[in-house]
């Protein structure tokens, strides 16, 4: 496996699992990089993963992925809390006897609709 990085930032420009020496340097130069600013390395899988831990783009992608997963978990939890089961929902509607209870139920329902429509908590 070979990677080509920007030496100043550790950004991985390209990875190829089978490339021969010089391929990635050639690709980067063709893309406009200065040869003095970049470096091609042959790496093991472990070394590639270590390089990813230094790559600012890979770090940002991991953080964005983690944030997306957290948001999805919050959404699922909120839906579960507000609509735990059909029996609970059905009974809640049947047991509404005044405006306060109706508002409580409508707010739970609105919370779920808001998540589904906007995929956001706020």
């Amino acid at each position: 496996m070979r990677i080509c990085i920007v030496k100043a930032t550790n950004q991985i420009i390209e990875m190829q699992s089978r490339a021969v020496s010089g391929t990635l340097i050639g690709n980067a130069i063709a893309q406009g990089y200065n040869e003095a600013d970049i470096e091609e390395r042959e790496v093991t899988q472990a070394e590639y993963e270590a390089a990813l831990n230094l790559d600012p783009i890979a770090i940002a992608m991991r953080e964005a992925e983690a944030a997306a997963k957290a948001l999805e978990q919050t959404k699922l939890t909120s839906i579960q809390d507000n609509l735990p089961s059909w029996n609970v929902v059905s009974n809640a509607v049947d047991n509404i006897t005044n405006l306060a209870e109706a508002k409580t139920y409508l707010k739970k329902l609105s919370r779920v609709v808001y998540w589904l429509a906007k995929n956001s908590e706020v």
């Binding site: 990875m15 699992s17 089978r18 050639g26 063709a30 893309q31 783009i57």
Partner: protein
């Protein structure tokens, strides 16, 4: 294939054979015969190919799987992929960036097929294209890096990448399956 016949004359006798080893016509004939002889057996499940020079036969698996990345904000241009070990006849690609979608494509160098399965605000989308071989989707229909197969090379292939929209700094991933 045209049948190869030894340039023997009826009058040629065994005692003259030793004189033939330097005869260019005979050397050419022997070469033509030997190039199609089967070499020693290869490993289990290997297949027999004619080598890249078209002069010998050889045993090989005939396929290779590899992976690569593509910077999503990279400019348009050609990118070489090497180390396949042979000149591919057919390539199959799978590509993705995030949960926005995946693409599957293939090409034999003259004909290509490609499909995207993408997700967006309103559900799942499908889109086919007979020119591209891979699309790395950041946002379906608006931000991606896509490629056509430019050439099948002696040790790999070359893709021509085009950037659509303005993808953010991110890394796209691809797998290829090369068949000899």
């Amino acid at each position: 294939m045209t049948e190869l016949k030894a340039p023997l004359q009826d009058s040629l006798s065994v005692k003259d054979l030793s004189a033939l080893v330097t005869n260019p016509v005979w050397i050419q004939w022997f070469n033509n015969i030997l190039r199609y002889t089967i070499p020693a057996l290869g490993s289990a499940n290997q297949k027999l190919f004619v080598n890249s020079a078209g002069a010998e036969s050889e045993w090989a698996s005939g396929f290779k799987v590899g992976s690569f990345t593509r910077a999503m904000d990279a400019a348009n241009g050609d990118v070489s992929y090497t180390g396949v070990g042979f000149n591919p006849s057919v390539l199959v690609f799978i590509g993705w960036v995030s949960t926005a979608g995946v693409s599957i494509g293939f090409s034999d160098g003259s004909s290509s097929g490609h499909v995207i399965v993408g997700t967006g605000g309103s559900g799942v989308f499908y889109w086919g294209n007979g020119t591209r071989v891979i699309t790395l989707i950041e946002a379906f229909g608006s931000k991606d890096q896509c490629a056509t197969l430019k050439t099948l090379d002696s040790d790999g292939f070359t893709l021509t990448w085009t950037k659509w929209g303005s993808p953010a700094s991110a890394t796209g991933y691809g797998y290829y399956f090369a068949l000899r």
